[in-house]
């Protein structure tokens, strides 16, 4: 890493100040190096988590792929993430339209309300859903998880698609109407294409957020329906073998694919531009 930085220094990415440069290198080491160790240990032939790994093999990948709880949890997490993301977009896009194009009082308040799930700690929301919906109302854990994840993703759906909509000229929809499009047709042929980058960003972000979530899902697990991150977390606590490293490496590889898709469609950095503020 330091080599990359110092080499880059020759090409105008100058580490202007030795202190700043050292801090930057330290930052990247802390962010990236632990991930590299996960990958390295997942290829071990030995049966303990150690570095350097004992030989090279793919046996832990085979074991992870054959370990039923992981496979089932993976399927569950994928189902949950796809459904929650779809639902959040389906509910969130109309809200965005109402906020940006409608004539209603108190828009800021309304937007704040829809962003509020970001403010309350997820663990607290998870506790509330567990206690009130699962125990209180006897709702099954899949429905509760879906409700909770959808509420958690709503802020992304509203804010990220809102950012695209704010960039679009409102006269575009008027132009479509003037050219003979009904309100619905104007939405489908003009507004929706304008929203496309926002929809992709919110979709990717929502999917990843739901798939990776621990705090909200933590209390909402049952034997029938468990999510992958929580299952992996539990496994680490029980046994200390490199199978979780292999599972982690698989998740990492899948995440790289998602990142590449993000880069190809809307631009990687842009996706995160919409989250803050």
């Amino acid at each position: 890493m330091s080599q990359v930085l110092s080499q880059a220094g020759k090409r105008s990415l100058r580490l202007r100040h030795p202190v700043a440069g050292t801090l930057a290198v330290a930052g990247y080491v802390v962010m990236i190096v632990p991930i590299l160790f996960v990958v390295a240990t997942s290829f071990t032939a030995g049966s303990t988590l150690r570095f350097p790994p004992d030989g090279f093999s793919l046996r832990w990948f085979a074991e992870a792929a054959a370990y039923t709880p992981f496979v089932e949890a993976l399927v569950s997490s994928l189902q949950l993430a796809v459904l929650a993301t779809g639902l959040a977009l389906l509910l969130g896009v109309p809200v965005t339209l109402a906020i940006h194009r409608g004539r209603i009082p108190g828009k800021e308040l309304l937007e704040g309300l829809f962003l509020s799930p970001l403010v309350v700690p997820e663990l607290v929301v998870g506790l509330a859903l567990y206690q009130q919906l699962m125990i209180g109302l006897g709702l099954n854990n899949f429905s509760t998880l879906l409700l909770g994840h959808t509420a958690l993703l709503l802020p992304y759906a509203v804010r990220v698609t809102g950012a695209s909509l704010a960039l679009a000229d409102p006269a575009l929809e008027e132009a479509a109407r003037g050219l003979g499009a009904s309100p619905l047709r104007a939405f489908v042929t003009v507004t929706l294409p304008m929203l496309r980058p926002g929809l992709i960003s919110a979709g990717l972000l929502g999917f990843v957020t739901s798939f990776n979530n621990v705090p909200l899902s933590l209390l909402l697990q049952t034997r029938d329906f468990r999510t992958l991150p929580v299952t992996m977390l539990d496994y680490v606590q029980q046994s200390y073998d490199p199978m979780v490293a292999a599972a982690s490496t698989i998740v990492l590889a899948a995440t790289v694919v998602v990142a590449v898709v993000a880069e190809r469609t809307v631009g990687f950095a842009k996706i995160f531009g919409g989250i803050n503020r």
């Binding site: 880059a8 996960v38 409608g102 859903l129 621990v214 998740v251 995160f272």
Partner: protein, 273 residues
Amino acid sequence: MRARSTSLLLLPGLAFLLVGFLLPAAAMLFAPPGVTFLQVLERMGAMLTDPYDLGIMWRTVRIGLVVTALCVVLGFPIASLLARSQSRWAGVLLALAIFPLLLSNVVRTFGWLVILGSNGVIGQILTGLGVVDDAPQLLYTEVAIVLGLVQLFLPLAIITCYSAVAQVDPGLDEAARGLGASRTRAFWTVLVPLSLPGIVVAATLVFAGSVTAYTTPYLLGGSSQRMLSTQLFSYASVTVDWAAASATAIVMTVLVFLVSGLSSLVGRKGATS
């Protein structure tokens, strides 16, 4: 768009928000099953005087502050470096800083077990060099939690500071240099003050994330280094003490709200002065 069709667009989303978030959250804080709000308050009162509970709160806040400070100190230089650079490496490094945000916290935190664990890298290096005979216990310490949280939240600090720095006109740096400021002085007298609102936002996000994170204290802190989040989980799931769980949830939420409120106050003051 007419008012009626607008409300039709809003209604489904609002209903979901209400059922999936607002109502349960309110009910949990004020009326957990079989417990009155008064009992929750009593339990909270007891916590605020109990040394063990107070210790957990103080540890949570302490770790939050240290992580926040580290993330700003490491993140801001990286952000300003990336935002000001024309090099093609800057794009690669920015992507490298953003990528971890997409990656599961469990995966990211797991790496520290390999590094800090009993057969871990650091232990082996230390024993291998003969510095110590037995590898020291590095896991289940506050240092481990801090390291894990810095790894987790540094990307957030970087992209928040990045957008703040990117909004500062690079011409201002040059103007300061032209007026006789060294690079370092231009950095401190122009870039830092103008990016301050962004730094405050970054600090708030990192702090709020750190004091509510679960995966990191669970994996790297264990039961010896409890934080509010791991304690909350144990009340809700192990001892099933609703009053204590709600009380802890209130403390955690208030802590986050307090810091967010404080930061938006600072932000507003900064904007007017």
